[in-house]
Symmetry: C2
Subunit: 71 residues, 2 copies
DNA sequence: TTTTAATATGACAAAAATGTCATCTAATTA
DNA sequence: TAATTAGATGACATTTTTGTCATATTAAAA
């Protein structure tokens, strides 16, 4: 798996978990203390997130870190 | 868990998995195509690695990504 | 003791993430 | 229709990671 594929994968996973909660990008942004655009970049595979960003997202989505990267 | 704690945790986890294989930092560096100093920074919690860096490390250590962040 | 291997540290440039702007489209709702 | 909500995009400054130097410390081996 190359970097671009990985970025897409984690983005899709975040969309999947957010959608399961019935949340909008704004809802997730609020829950993480970040802004909508930051969420959009993550979800659309525009960035290669750091571990800490992933931890923050996992907390907001109420899943464990290793569940978030389970793909 | 704050960012500093997380950096320490992932570093300890990498040391743990590398040690289980009986590898030196140089061995891991070679397996990842990076250099010794980069491994040292990771292991000693000096950096907040990106997801792609974690994937490369997990490959070198022959564990899955979600096993690497299982802590 | 001397040499070598392993680990650690500080400095640096280049690349990339983060966070925040404005703005745009599309879909939904009043 | 008009207003609102959701999502997407490009630009930008700031911060940080990444990758690579040189070098220092410690431990092990010859």
């Amino acid at each position: 798996m190359d970097k671009e594929q990985l970025k897409k994968k984690i983005g899709q996973r975040i969309v999947e978990l957010r959608s399961q909660k019935g949340w909008s990008q704004s809802d997730l942004a609020r829950a993480t203390g970040k802004d909508r655009q930051a969420m959009e970049k993550l979800e659309n595979g525009k960035v290669n997130p750091t571990l800490y960003t992933l931890l923050e997202i996992s907390k907001a989505l109420e899943v464990s870190l290793n569940q978030l990267v389970k793909f």
